[in-house]
């Protein structure tokens, strides 16, 4: 439709006003975000290119990519060792925890979706651990896992079985860490997936039932595809969160046995401000980890999108 000059001018005015409005709405957030997040972020990024001395700021000097080179390639060095062992342990955790952190909430959400009696109470109970702080969680769970007197082991003994050294030997150390993580964090995913399930048109189910489809078939061909958007969010956020794991391996198993559960964040933290601080290395490790996470997320998104389209 042809607009008169008047109308055109008014429209331009409106668009400009829209832009100004947008900036007005956006600016408080952007200001705070830039000042308190972007600025420190770039500051940190810059630190990674320096030999940064926490105690003697004058002795800080620029070293370019040295820190990165050391952690990625200098195979005799201690930081190389910390980085790669930490990364390996983090990856182990991610690979083994994420499937459970997605499947278990999915199953629980599906059960709740059938709306049996008291489903709201069940939902509260299952979500409750998610509001706890890490220290409360560890406090409670450490006692469950102890050998010689832990709750689980005392039950095992009563059943006539042998005790399991949950916190001090593999693979039980990992199993304990993952179990606690599931208990603590699966609530968010359960809620997201549950909401997604709720939005699926029930008539689809009825149609499938009339056609004689079994529960499994219905789930596979109707539920899952409809759940795709939620699954995408859940999978990506869970992977990202798992990369940053810190509290559970640190407090539950102290990174043991024999440093086998010492994840990358446990190496980064003390290097950032511990007694042997090397902030340059710490930030180089953090940035490297971030890069890896971005790559993993992109790959994930591509795979899921492709599956979704198929």
């Amino acid at each position: 439709m042809q607009l008169s000059l008047e109308a055109k001018r008014r429209r331009t005015k409106r668009i400009i006003k829209d832009q100004m409005s947008a900036y007005a709405f956006l600016s408080p957030y952007l200001i705070i975000f830039s000042v308190f997040f972007i600025f420190p972020f770039f500051y940190g990024l810059v630190i990674s290119f320096f030999d940064w001395n926490l105690f003697y700021p004058d002795e800080t000097k620029f070293i370019g990519f040295d820190n990165y080179q050391r952690i990625w390639f200098e195979s005799g060095g201690i930081y190389y060792r910390y980085f790669w062992s930490g990364l390996k342990n983090t990856l182990i955790f991610v690979v083994f925890s994420v499937p459970f952190l997605v499947l278990i909430p999915l199953i629980l959400a599906a059960l709740i979706d059938n709306e049996p009696k008291g489903y709201k109470i069940f939902r509260t109970i299952l979500f409750m651990p998610t509001v706890l702080s890490i220290s409360s969680v560890i406090l409670i769970w450490k006692w469950q896992f102890y050998t010689n007197g832990g709750f689980i082991n005392s039950v095992l003994l009563k059943l006539g079985l042998n005790e399991i050294p949950f916190l001090v030997s593999q693979p039980w150390a990992w199993i304990s860490i993952i179990a606690v993580t599931i208990w603590w964090t699966m609530g968010t995913n359960m809620v997201i997936l549950g909401a997604g399930l709720k939005n699926i048109d029930k008539t689809l189910y009825e149609a499938a039932a009339i056609d004689g489809a079994s529960y499994i078939q219905t789930f596979k061909y109707i539920t899952m595809p409809s759940l795709a958007p939620q699954m995408l969010i859940v999978m990506i956020t869970t992977v990202l969160a798992s990369f940053g794991v810190y509290g559970q391996p640190d407090l539950l198993t102290n990174g043991g046995p024999d440093f086998s559960t010492t994840v990358l964040m446990m190496r980064i933290r003390p290097l950032a401000f511990g007694t042997n601080a090397n902030p340059g290395i710490a930030t180089a490790m953090a940035v490297s980890m971030g890069m890896i996470m971005i790559v993993v997320s992109i790959i994930q998104a591509r795979i899921i999108k492709r599956r979704g389209d198929a």
Partner: protein, 280 residues
């Protein structure tokens, strides 16, 4: 009808499964609760039993009676700080989410995804610059440091943006035709429709700020105990090598009670709220 009985069977199976799992799920919490009511001797001799032999309030009393650990004051402080934070957070973040969803401007979506992706780098490296900044601003040790820097959080902004995207644009258009400006649209159209999303964002914002530990700890390092938040204060009650399990467990339970209550009350709205954000 055949379908009805199948549905009923599913409900029964679900019920049984959920019941068993919930009992398992609750046990650690029940244990924690029980420990907080056990006498120290009971804790040593029967650390794993789920029922105190003798119920005692001594740990909770200890928390509230020691003069160097004003637990009630800490809870109040945490409430004020987390509460102010949540209110400000909702305002600032919802404005931004509105801009990123309903309003139109150049590079809108690219800017959004850039912001989102910067949050993938672990924030531990932000700590030192942030400390310097709060010192330079004169906020070091004050509650402002616990409230303002976190207002740029991404999770709530993401949540609300997704939700706003789900609002039918026709409503916005007809409001525009009716002559509402952007602010009017936000207040009269978007906000009323998004109550549940706001509740979700509020809950996570409150929870995150309430449970925050390391940052407040550093800020409070030179500050009188009466100004501390609850997690910081509670961490100083338990000795490092002189661990009082009953006391620490009581402290942990105390720390989570407010958040659990808030969650239990808002449960339904939260689920509904998250429902509309999950869809893209």
């Amino acid at each position: 009808m055949a379908i009805r009985s199948v549905q009923n069977k599913r409900k029964t199976i679900s019920f049984i499964a959920l019941l068993l799992i919930s009992i398992l799920w609750l046990m650690p919490l029940v244990w924690g609760l029980a420990t907080s009511f056990k006498t120290p001797q009971d804790i040593s001799s029967n650390p794993t039993s789920l029922f105190p032999e003798l119920w005692t309030l001594e740990h909770y009393q200890g928390l509230f009676s020691r003069p160097d650990t004003p637990v009630m004051r800490w809870m109040l402080n945490s409430f004020i700080i987390a509460g102010s934070y949540t209110v400000l957070y909702l305002i600032i973040v919802s404005f931004a989410a509105y801009a990123f969803s309903i309003l139109k401007f150049k590079y809108r979506d690219q800017l959004f995804w850039i912001i989102l992706s910067t949050t993938m780098i672990p924030t531990v490296i932000n700590l030192v610059p942030l400390i310097t900044m709060t010192i330079d601003l004169g906020w070091f040790g004050s509650w402002l440091s616990l409230i303002i820097p976190g207002l740029g959080g991404v999770f709530g902004m993401f949540l609300l943006r997704q939700f706003f995207l789900g609002i039918p644009y026709e409503l916005v258009e007809s409001a525009k035709i009716d002559g509402l400006n952007n602010f009017g649209i936000f207040v009269k159209i978007v906000m009323p429709l998004s109550k549940s999303a706001f509740l979700v964002a509020a809950l996570f914002a409150f929870m995150g700020n309430w449970n925050d530990y390391l940052w407040p700890l550093i800020q409070f390092s030179g500050v009188d105990a009466s100004m501390w938040t609850l997690p910081v204060g509670l961490s100083k009650i338990a000795g490092t090598y002189n661990y009082d399990y009953g006391l620490t467990m009581a402290a942990a339970i105390l720390a989570i009670v407010p958040v659990v209550i808030v969650y239990a009350l808002l449960q339904d709205k939260i689920i509904e709220g998250v429902a509309r954000t999950g869809i893209k």
